[in-house]
Each structure stands twice: as C-alpha cells, then as structure tokens.
C-alpha cells in the first residue's frame, strides 16, 4: 500500500500561466496526478451567460500543452475542471478543441473522458416543480422565470464523477463546472486516502502558489498527501509556505473559515493544525469532513439583462466638479424628456472616479479630494441601439450642459478617445445560485470516453 500521493497544481486558473522551471521541478518530484481548476464566478455573470471564456485561448493552450505532454511522458492522469472558465457545454467544447489540437500537434494518444456539467432546462424544471432546488442565503428562492431565462445552468460536480472516470481508465479528464478542490481530491480518494484531507489539500492547491509567500496564482505548488496529514511545497525556490500563508489562504473567498460547505458535505477545519516542518514546507492535519444528507449540488446560471454602451470622459474644471450632481440630474431629465418612449426601459449610470466610482454607496468619504474626475457614462437598455441612443444623448448633453457659474462655455468633458462611445454588448446577471438535492452525485453529469489516437497531422 502506498503511503503518499503527490498532486501537482501548475496554476490557479488554466491560462494564468506558470514558469516552466517550477513545473519541471514538480515533475522531478514524480507526481501521481496533474490537476488544474480552470474557472471561477469571480469575473462576473457575462462569461457563463454568453458562453465565452474569460481566459485567453492562446494562454490556455500554452498551459495545457505543458500539462498534457508531461502527463503522457510520466503516464499519469491530467485532470481539468470547470473547462472554459464557466463549465457550460460551450466552454467545454471550446477547451476540448484545444485538447484535440494539442494531441494532434504533439502526437499524444490517451483515453479522454469528457464530463458535462450543463443540466438541461427540462430536467431542472422537473426538479424545480418537485421542490428540490433550495435557496442559498443570502440569495433568495429561485423563480421559474429566472430558471427558464438563464442561457445555461451548470451544476458544480463533486469528486465522484472524476473518480468514476479514473476507474474507467481515463488518462485525461476534461470536465465542465466542478467544485474547485474536486480535481485534486479525486485521485487520492480513489486510492483510498482520507476524503477530508484530500479535499482540504485541494482547497489550497486550487489556487496553486497563492497560499505561499510571496503568493502567486501563476506558479506551481505540490501537495503531498499522507495517511493522516498533507504537506505543501511551492515549486519556485523564491517562495515558501508558512503557517500564516497557508492558514490565511483558508480565509480567501470564504464566509466562514472553519466550515467550508461543498458537494456532499462540509469540510470542518475547527481542529486543523498547521506546522512548519521545513523552511518552505507546511504540514496540515486534523481536518474533518461532515457528510450531508441529502447530497447537494450548487447550481449556477446567468440570464440576459440587456445591452450596454459606455462613454469614458474626464473633467478638470473646478466649477463643473463642484456642481456635478446637479449637472447629472439635469442630464437625466433631458434624456428622459427627449426619449419618452424609452421610459422605464433603460438604466443610465454616471460613475464618478475620484469621488465614489469604486465604492458607490459603501464609500465613507463624502468630500472628494481630487482636482479631476473620471466619468463613465453608462447606458443599459433592452437593445444595443437603445443603449447607444441613451449613452450618446447623455454624453452630448453633458458635454454642452450649461450650469450656473459656468465659465468654460466650449465644453465640459475631456474625451480620451474618438469615437467616445463603446458598445459593450450583452449584459448578463446571475439568476441561479441555488442548491439542488440529488440522490446520486454522478446522476447529472453525463460522461463520454474517446480514444485520442495520437496521430500527428491535420485536425479532424
């Protein structure tokens, strides 16, 4: 029986890159598996809603190239979760095409498992009607309309579909939306290692070297999972793991650092210990897992909220800056008066950088200190044309708006660009962020296998 599993995490998000020297140092330590998390909801609802990746294709291909070639050379599994950044089928297909290209370019042959995470609407509506979709506070109850109108709804798979794929002999696994730690935990759990420790190690490895100091999401980290502990080692000699850097990472992007809910239960860190065992290596032990009944899957979906046009400008006139609130009010009234047919069908937003552009209502400083203001005029409407109209009219009105005490009668705004207005296209919003109760952790995640033949030449 083996007593250690080594998991190599090259980068925090596929496409964020990593130094090849760090990656090679990882390969020298004979990893059992290379895994990467390719996604996040942090970049906002656009990417899930639109089906586009928030990572760049060339950058993703560069990272995958090193991983796939190394995986075949060492004959170890390569596991990719949340393909394409959001993990719906369009994202999965986008990433699959890159995998195929690389296989052809490098003559790589392997058994590929592709696991989908997009759940058909029909299926979700059926479960919605049965009351199996629950709110996830502070979010509210799911509405049928939000479910129907979301472009794609994905479920965050746990480690079980990955384990199933590995048991079937998959050498490369490409999966849709996944719980971030699952790609790192699946292989060790399949080999009989402790689920809680594997998940906790995965929680840290999913951000690669962010848990080191100095931290980086673009550098490699190795996890060594033993029977009753795990150790973490950053693979770039300029970084080290410290008790504080590793423990602090547990705080990152979480509400409660002691209890971390996920698919099938909660990771309980109340008795976890962190220990500096070498200058650059931290040992972690004592993490527990509390299984939940029923098993829940987190659902994510985004729906179209309109179309956006923005205009970017600046102001340097102190009289204008002092009166900007009443000027904005005047511009709003002019827009409303001029386009009465659009009443209630658009949002017009003025962002004032140098005042409260960053924090909005949360900004505690009421007196702006800046001698200039950055201004973004933003219109969101039901069509791109309407957004263009509102933004354009608000921009020209603000440029020439006559206010009491005005000395600069030629124009109020400095535009850095011509054209001054930018069509930003579709705007999405998160509409589904709920829990679905399931009987079987793999039932919603269809899996298919493909033998990639490894023939160099044209892409088929």
């Amino acid at each position: 029986m083996i007593d250690e599993i080594r998991v190599l995490s090259p980068t925090a998000i596929l496409g964020y890159g990593f130094p090849l020297a760090s990656f090679e140092a990882g390969l020298d330590r004979n990893p059992h598996v290379i895994a990467v998390d390719a996604g996040s909801t942090d970049p906002g609802p656009y990417y899930l809603g639109s089906g586009h990746s928030f990572t760049d294709r060339t950058a993703v291909k560069r990272d995958l190239e090193a991983m796939l070639v190394a995986g075949r050379r060492l004959n170890i599994p390569v596991i990719i979760g949340t393909a394409g950044g959001s993990g719906a089928n369009s994202h999965l297909d986008w990433c699959l095409e890159i995998v195929r290209e690389l296989a052809t370019e490098h003559g790589l042959s392997f058994k590929l498992a592709v696991i989908e995470a997009e759940i058909p609407k029909r299926e979700l509506l059926r479960r919605f009607e049965r009351g199996e979709i629950k709110p996830l506070p502070p979010g509210g109850e799911l509405s049928r309309e939000d479910l129907e109108q979301s472009t794609a709804v994905v479920g965050q798979m746990g480690m079980e579909p990955f384990i199933k794929a590995l048991e079937a002999g998959a050498e490369v696994i490409l999966a849709g939306r996944s719980y971030d730690p699952a790609v790192f935990a699946a292989y060790p759990v399949l080999r009989g290692f402790d689920r809680a420790l594997a998940l906790h190690m995965g929680k840290i490895l999913e951000c690669a070297s962010i848990a080191a100091t100095p931290g980086s999401g673009s550098d490699c980290m190795m996890g060594y999972l033993g029977r009753d502990h795990f150790r973490l080692e950053p693979l770039n000699p300029m970084r080290k793991c410290t008790v504080t850097s590793v423990a602090a990472h547990t705080l990152y992007e979480k509400t409660n650092p002691y209890l971390l809910p996920g698919p099938g239960g909660t990771l309980d860190l109340r008795e976890t210990t962190f220990e500096q065992v070498e200058e650059r290596v931290v040992k972690v032990a004592g993490s527990k897992f509390i299984p939940a009944e029923p098993y829940t899957i987190k659902l994510e979906g985004a729906r179209l909220a309109g179309y956006r046009t923005v205009s970017i400008a600046g102001a340097r006139d102190p009289v204008f800056i002092a009166k900007v609130d009443e000027i904005i009010q005047g511009v709003r009234e002019r827009v409303a008066d001029n386009f009465r047919a659009l009443e209630g069908k658009y949002r017009l937003i003025f962002r004032l950088y140098g005042r409260d552009g960053v924090m909005g209502d949360l900004e505690p400083l009421l007196e702006p200190a800046s001698h200039e203001l950055g201004i973004i005029i933003e219109a969101v409407a039901e069509t791109q044309e309407e957004a263009n109209t509102v933004c354009s009219f608000a921009r020209s009105t603000m440029l020439h708006y006559g206010y009491p005490g005005r000395m600069a009668t030629a124009g109020n705004l400095a535009f850095p660009y011509s054209p001054s207005d930018f069509k930003a296209g579709e705007v999405y919003r998160f509409a589904v962020h709920h829990l679905l109760e399931v009987k079987n952790p793999v039932e919603l995640f269809p899996m298919r296998f493909e033998d990639i033949p490894g023939v160099r030449g044209e892409n088929r």
Binding site: T41, P138, P257, R429
Partner: protein, 107 residues
Amino acid sequence: MKRALLPELAEVIRSKNAGPYELTFDIIFKTREIFEQVAARKLITPELIAKLYKIPPERVISVVEFAPAKAIKATIVRPLACGDVGDSDVYGAQQHAPLLGLEVEWE
C-alpha cells in the same frame, strides 16, 4: 488610552467576493499577540463593520476570529450581486480601504 490605526496592527487587510452575493474582509494581524488582544477585547464587531460601511447591522453576515491565521474575517451582503447592472467592483477587491483608516483603542 492611546489609539492605533489598523494598518499599524495588521499585515494584510483585503476584500474579495465570497460567491456572487457576499463581500468578505480579511484582517491578518502582524503577530499572534496583537491578534489575541484584538480578539479578546472584541475590537472588530459586526456593529463596527456596519457603521464603517454605512449599512444596516443585519447586512453583516458574520465576524469570525480565525486563530490559525491570526486573522479576523468579516462578511457582508454585497450591495449588488457581482456583475449586476450598477455594480462597481466585480471582484470585490477594492472595498477594504475604509479599514485602512480605522482607529482602535490600543495600549
């Protein structure tokens, strides 16, 4: 009693999304002693966070001490969901600044 600015006591003060509907603040203190004193004297409370961000107390989800990282974590409901029309900080990474100006009673 003298007063200290939070940056004099902490080595990390940051904000970030915790999912699309929550904003979470981490204060990692310079030493274990400082952390223990701040925690023992309850210097960071939900009421303080509510006041600092001008939000009703019920919008503060939690304030948690995390001894392994000598840290205190506060989480609030996001004013708008991540990326909603009108949101000003999609990643939530620049909402920490009021904490940098926070003064607490200190020996």
